[in-house]
């Protein structure tokens, strides 16, 4: 048998969790601060505006394209060259008024048509989101995230008892907020696909925690004599192989999508990659100690379950 993680492994993960809990809390706070100070780099999905992707003849650079656009009243537009593409492609971003939004794509097509022959250029993508649609999408994004959290919470409380639910939710919040924090740090655009990625991360984060909790429940049944502390630790250790393998396999796909999936899938996959990586330590060091903590609280008056660290562990 091939083992990434030796079967004899028996670390006291819970002992190591304390500094991580502090670290994770600090990271969440940092993320929230960043969200409010530097802020997310919102894409047109949420701010409204136009994004036009064009391919033009090889000789053209951003300066030349900007000049042409200026002639049509798009002096304010930002022009970015799309790297790693076989064609000479540019992304034009601009704000639009409500009245202008239906025609901005046509205008840019006409502008290019006036200085280039047909066939020399192509308008590959036009995304126009009016201000009203932008604010609606923003609302629906927030509603979706809240509904996902609520849905997960309801399911866990049904399926697991109250001791387990807070740990899952806390790990979930940590994963999603930290990912957002990293997203702000690297200045990537926040758009509809980022929201979808965050929701997927939320699902993944729970999945990871649930698998360990499932183990803990099993162990409690099969080893009724052991302290909860020992049971949790043993579960983490036994599950370590699975956690690492699963994340590894999922990340094979996610990294491929990130590196090879082109510009649209690239950011979507990168966001998931960040979240999935964060979800490993958060499950081990955040979700699990919460179980002990909740157990302690529940038994504060009635000391039936031994939650203290056994001396031999």
């Amino acid at each position: 048998m091939l083992h990434l993680i030796p079967t004899t492994i028996n670390y006291d993960f819970l002992k190591m969790s304390k500094p991580f809990v502090w670290f994770s809390t600090a990271f969440v706070i940092l993320s929230v601060v960043l969200l409010f100070t530097k802020g997310l780099n919102y894409g047109i999905d949420f701010t409204g505006g136009a994004e036009v992707q064009v391919s033009v003849p090889a000789g053209w650079d951003t300066g030349k394209l900007r000049e042409v656009l200026k002639g049509g009243g798009f002096g304010e537009a930002s022009v970015i060259r799309i790297e790693d593409s076989k064609r000479n492609e540019f992304l034009i971003k601009t704000q639009v008024s409500d009245a202008d939004s239906p025609i901005v794509g046509d205008k840019i097509t006409k502008l290019l048509g006036s200085s280039l022959q047909a066939g020399e250029y192509e308008v590959e993508k036009v995304d126009v989101v009016g201000p009203q649609a932008g604010s609606e999408l923003r609302t629906s994004a927030v509603v979706s995230v809240l509904m996902a959290a609520l849905g997960i919470l309801i399911y866990i409380t049904f399926r697991f008892d109250v001791r387990f639910a807070p740990g899952i939710v806390r790990a979930l919040l940590f994963d999603v907020i930290s990912t957002l924090g990293v997203w702000v740090m690297i200045g990537k655009e926040f758009n509809l696909s980022t929201v979808a990625a965050l929701l997927t991360i939320a699902g993944y984060s729970c999945n990871d925690t649930i698998v360990i909790y499932d183990r803990i429940r099993d162990f409690q049944k099969s080893h009724p004599g052991d302290s909860l502390y020992a049971v949790v630790n043993r579960s983490i250790n036994l599950n370590l192989g699975r956690t690492v393998l699963t994340v590894l396999c999922t990340n094979f796909v996610v990294v491929s999508l990130w590196l090879l999936g082109g510009p649209v899938l690239g950011d979507f996959a990168l966001c998931m990659l960040i979240g999935f990586c964060i979800s490993i330590p958060s499950t081990i060091f955040v979700a699990n100690p919460m179980v002990i903590y909740m157990e302690k609280r529940a038994n504060a008056k009635d000391q039936k379950v031994d939650t203290s660290r056994p001396k031999h562990a």
């Binding site: 794509g105 649609a133 090879l260």
Partner: protein, 563 residues
């Protein structure tokens, strides 16, 4: 092998064959027209993969409500006059969004009578406020929601008719929420034209020009613009400008009239003073087609009215010989010819002005289409538009498939190395998983989008998890000293609850994603959801089937397991 095993094997084989049949036309890229293959359906590619146009329109109900309200109150006044009560309608107050109201004044003595008529015969109206000798009326709530539904469904119908004439394969026109229309047109290349066809209200109206007032409109408008400090700016909605202007002109022009323009190049628009009353609408048209105006050497649109419209048209022209009749389309005057005598038969032409050449022909053809298909019941505002060219779509497919292929191959290699024979079982199970997901996607007529391709790969990536959970459990059981057969059974038993729980949270998230965002993301959610079902199925049946076979073949005398 026992019966249960054969039963499960038979079922799996059946699913496998059905799935392969579903997938072959897509994977083999068969030409559905010429192929002899019995199953003739390919996967639907989303707009982001095949190129096309996605548009979200907002329906402007305000005007519809206001018009319905004035019409209903007109009806009420008519009824009251039959009962010898004189009543007067005030100005419509549109300050409350989507619930305009209007006051009706009458002789205080007849209040009871008015109330009676309202209660018994005017179900569309409700009294918002009552004072001595005056009611404030607005539309009844149920009636308003009826109008809303009707307007929305009629908009969809009209757009569908227009698109059908335009010729797009598999368009999708749906409503979203209570005031949105979503139009998806795969493969459309001429975005500008498609937009003009879909979004144009195409409200054709015949109105009489008010020649009695003897005003110098040009001067009057210039003066008003100067005193109120506004003018038409490029980029502004022309209809907004006209609305503002008419508001400002109130009192300076007769109350039953309004100013509308004939648009000329270079903003040299020609104003007309028109009677507000609509004599005939485009609803009375039975046909419209492009013809050629020999004199102007330009295309024009000829129309034919239905019998009822033709009669009205004849009466109208008979009674107004020598006056000007304006043909107004979407609040813009197209022409205002002099009526030389009664026109029987109800046919006429709309001249387009000379934009010249090919463009003019296109415009004429599109105008004929929208006139034939009918007017939209309300103004549609384009809120969101996403257009993708075919080459970008093809690029996306290539990128998505390459990335997915590489990712999955890495997983397969890893599983083979790490779990050996059991890993091979997992790989078979994963491949079947992907096959089933794609087959269900095709069978359900769902749409595969670029994020959907990612979702498919991610499904494989996450499905590994269920195999890993099972295998790790079996290893644990072996580690605890159980026999191979006992370890395998215990492993599967214990793993299932865990796999189920873990996948449910994915399902919750995917369900929510289904209702979020645009088409591409919905495609992602759909693949994830289908993937979860197939994952649960494959992990439990496929792997178990192999392990059962192996254990049985070795007669439970296994010393070790390749895991």
């Amino acid at each position: 092998m026992n019966r249960s095993w054969w039963l499960r094997f038979g079922l799996l084989s059946f699913f496998f064959v059905v799935a392969v049949v579903h997938v072959i036309p897509t994977v083999g890229n068969l030409n559905l027209e010429t192929t002899n293959f019995p199953f003739k359906k390919k996967v639907n590619l989303g707009l982001d993969l095949q190129g096309g146009l996605y548009m979200v329109y907002g329906v402007d109900f305000k005007k519809v409500y206001t018009e319905t309200l004035t019409r209903s109150v007109d009806g009420l006044l008519n009824q009251l006059s039959k009962e010898n009560i004189t009543a007067k309608m005030g100005n419509v107050d549109i300050s409350v969004e989507e619930d305009p109201n209007v006051s009706v004044e009458f002789d205080q003595a007849s209040e009871a009578k008015v109330k009676d008529v309202l209660d018994k015969q005017q179900y569309a109206l409700r009294i918002m406020d009552r004072k001595a000798g005056s009611f404030t009326l607005s539309l009844a709530r149920e009636y308003r929601s009826t109008i809303k539904e009707h307007t929305l469904s009629q908009s969809v119908q009209v757009i569908r008719n227009r698109i059908d004439e335009f010729g797009v394969s598999e368009p999708s026109i749906t409503t979203k929420g209570e005031n949105r229309v979503v139009v998806e047109l795969p493969g459309v290349k001429d975005v500008e034209r498609a937009k003009a066809l879909v979004g144009r209200t195409a409200r054709l109206e015949f109105k009489m020009v008010n020649t009695e007032a003897q005003l110098n409109l040009g001067e009057l408008i210039a003066e008003t613009e100067k005193s109120k400090g506004f003018s038409y700016k490029e980029g502004e909605k022309f209809s907004d400008y006209v609305g503002k202007l008419n508001e400002a002109l109130k009192g300076k022009i007769p109350a039953d009239s309004q100013v509308q323009f004939e648009r000329k190049p270079g903003n040299q628009n020609l104003p007309f003073l028109l009677h507000s009353k609509v004599e005939i609408t485009g609803n009375e048209l039975s046909d419209a087609m492009v013809t050629f105006d020999q004199e102007q050497q330009a295309p024009q649109v000829s129309f034919q009215m239905n019998p009822r419209g033709a009669v009205t048209f004849e009466d109208l022209t008979r009674n107004n010989v020598g006056k000007l009749l304006a043909i107004v389309l979407d609040d813009v005057v197209y022409s205002a010819p002099r009526i030389n005598g009664p026109i029987p038969g109800g046919s006429g032409v709309i001249t387009l002005g000379s934009t010249g050449g090919d463009e003019a022909f296109k415009e004429a053809r599109d105008l004929a289409i929208v006139l034939r298909a009918g007017a939209l019941p309300a103004r549609l505002d384009l809120l969101e538009q996403r257009a993708i060219g075919p080459s970008l779509g093809a690029d996306s497919i290539k990128h998505g498939l390459t990335a997915s292929f590489v990712g999955c191959t890495l997983i397969f290699i890893f599983m083979l190395i790490y779990y050996k024979m059991s890993g091979a079982v997992a790989v078979v199970s994963l491949i079947l998983n992907g096959l089933f997901t794609l087959a269900i996607l095709i069978g359900m007529d769902a749409t595969l989008t670029l994020p959907g391709i990612a979702g498919l790969a991610l499904t494989i990536g996450m499905a590994v998890d269920s195999n890993v959970i099972i295998f790790e459990r079996i290893r644990d059981e072996l580690f605890e000293g159980k026999s191979v057969s006992a370890a395998v059974h215990a492993g599967f038993d214990k793993a299932f609850a865990c796999i189920f729980d873990a996948n449910i949270t994915h399902a919750i998230v995917a369900t929510i994603l289904l209702n979020f965002g645009t088409g591409p993301m919905r495609g992602f959610a759909v693949t994830l959801l289908i993937g979860i079902v197939t994952t649960l199925f494959c992990a439990v049946t496929v792997c178990k089937l192999f392990f059962d076979y192996y254990l049985e073949a070795k007669q439970n005398k296994l010393e070790s397991l390749s895991i």
